[in-house]
């Protein structure tokens, strides 16, 4: 699955990680105050986790096909587990949750592995949304019924359904882009994750006007704009790796960055509602799997359907 375009993208990622690691090490050396030291320590932990995540991701994409799908299946499982762990559930939810973890998640990714696009796009919003509330009603517990159903369905939509659109990119048939879908997937992840980083960095450097201080105190107008601009430029300069023209690539990258921002603040609002700062502590410096994937949740289905309707040969 590795071609020359992919190797170039890998080189860019390795260079970015190296730059981040060097910055973190310099910051750690130069830190004099306690606050600076703790920021530098967090940055180093973040960079170590980035290397691990990038390594796992690159190896799975390089092996290709089913491995990538399994990786995202496991990510969905871990993200949904983090969400359910922090969300109050009751005895009556037990069987429905068992179905969610061990039947629904594997089945959704099985449909994706079989490239059954129309089946996987309706499985969760139609079939699962019938099965889960019905199973919970049959369990007979009525206290907070609507709230409990909504929580589980929200978790399944964001952690499973939305995230499953990332590996689904592999099954798109794009004109003049045969066999390069893994590169497109790589492009998507790169833009959304880079936007996270640049939004954070420009926000720290120039941030003045907070967007939603109660939801996410670090999000500023300046950070958002910085992320959008950098994403647009990076998108345009990586157009050669995609089926898009440079202008379209820039526009799509800006759209992805904005969708990433929306996913990020929405999942933050959910965290505030539950009363936690991070979904778990699995990835040192980042928080949980869901803290890392929050910006992908909204961007993935939007990107999938946009590319499918505009660039697919169907």
């Amino acid at each position: 699955m590795i071609d020359r375009d992919m190797v170039t993208l890998l080189g860019i990622v390795a260079a970015a990680l190296l730059l981040g690691t060097i910055t973190a090490e310099i910051a750690a050396r130069r830190a004099t105050s306690d606050r600076a030291r703790s920021i530098a320590q967090n940055l180093r932990a973040r960079m170590r986790s980035w290397w691990v995540m990038a390594g796992v991701f690159v190896v799975s994409v390089a092996i290709g096909g089913v491995t990538t799908i399994v990786l995202f299946g496991i990510s969905s499982f871990l993200a949904f587990r983090e969400f359910i762990t922090l969300t109050p559930t009751r005895r009556g939810d037990h069987r429905a949750l068992f179905w969610a973890f061990f039947v629904i998640i594997p089945f959704q990714y099985l449909l994706i592995a079989q490239e059954r696009i129309s089946a996987f796009t309706v499985f969760v919003p139609v079939f699962v949304f019938v099965i889960i509330p019905a199973r919970m009603a049959a369990a007979g517990e009525v206290k907070d019924f609507l709230t409990r159903v909504s929580r589980i369905q929200w978790g399944l939509i964001t952690c499973v359904y939305f995230i499953s659109h990332v590996p689904a990119l592999l099954s798109l048939e794009l004109e003049g882009y045969d066999g390069k879908n893994a590169t497109l997937l790589f492009f998507f992840i790169l833009i959304v994750q880079l936007n996270d980083v640049f939004q954070f960095v420009t926000g720290k450097l120039f941030g003045r006007h907070k967007i939603a201080p109660l939801v996410s105190p670090n999000k500023t107008v300046e950070g958002l704009l910085g992320g959008l601009i950098v994403s647009g430029v990076v998108g345009a300069s990586l157009a050669w790796a995609t089926p898009f023209s440079p202008l379209a690539a820039a526009g799509i990258a800006v759209g992805l960055a904005f969708a990433g921002f929306l996913g990020d603040i929405t999942m933050s609002a959910v965290k505030r509602d539950i009363g936690v700062k991070d979904y778990s502590s699995l990835l040192p410096g980042h928080g949980g799997v869901l803290d890392r994937l929050d910006s992908l949740t909204f961007a993935a289905p939007l990107f999938f359907h946009l590319v499918r309707s505009m660039f697919s040969g169907e």
């Binding site: 587990r81 762990t85 005895r91 037990h94 069987r95 949750l97 068992f98």
Partner: protein
């Protein structure tokens, strides 16, 4: 090897993150007492203990559950080396406290569930007197409260299939009996120490 496999399986299923509010290993036997909400409690505490505490520790488990059926018996006796005790028909010869006391006398730590059963409430039931009698048998022994968070959601009473929710096991500060303390006031104090861990996790 089988032990490592079982530990890995348990960790994959429910994380078993251990939080130690007091240093985990000390010389001398300790009595760990935990809230009991699920049949998996015994295995989860066992899996969350760091070595060498784990190999020096026996888990006190109910004969009428863990002794039934070849798989459970094998798990209890061969894998996590539980000390199976009789709950239902206690006579002079099979008094569970004798076996547990012998264990403590050997210098081994034990894990017990002082509620004497699983309860569906959010808070632990009143403790049975076993904890007090063990503490009296070995004056000065450290009693460590252990709060198991979320396990009742992994495998609630009456369910067979587990759900992989993340479990946290919190080890609190050790306490011991105080001179002149009555049975009830000690048991209340121990239960309060356990409940304090619950509040510290949320």
């Amino acid at each position: 090897m089988i032990r490592a496999g079982v530990t890995l399986l348990i960790r994959l299923l429910c994380g078993c993150q251990a939080r130690h509010l007091s240093a985990p290993s000390r010389s001398g036997p300790r009595i760990y007492f935990a809230n009991h909400t699920s049949n998996l409690d015994a295995i989860v505490v066992w899996a969350s203990l760091p070595e060498p505490c784990r190999s020096n520790c026996r888990i006190v488990a109910a004969e009428d559950y863990w002794g039934r059926g070849p798989v459970r018996r094998w798990l209890a006796c061969r894998v996590f080396r539980a000390l199976l005790i009789e709950r239902k028909r206690v006579t002079r010869t099979n008094n569970p406290l004798t076996a547990i006391n012998a264990c403590l006398d050997e210098g081994r730590s034990i894990v017990i569930f002082p509620e004497g059963g699983r309860f569906l409430d959010d808070e632990p039931a009143p403790f049975k007197s076993g904890l007090w009698r063990l503490a009296k048998h070995k004056p000065g022994v450290e009693l460590v409260p252990v709060w198991i968070e979320n396990l009742s959601r992994v495998l609630p009473k009456g369910e067979v299939l587990p759900v992989p929710i993340l479990v946290a096991v919190t080890y609190g500060e050790p306490l011991s009996t105080e001179p002149g303390e009555t049975r009830q006031s000690f048991l209340d104090r121990a239960r309060a120490a356990l409940l304090a861990l619950k509040d510290s996790t949320t």
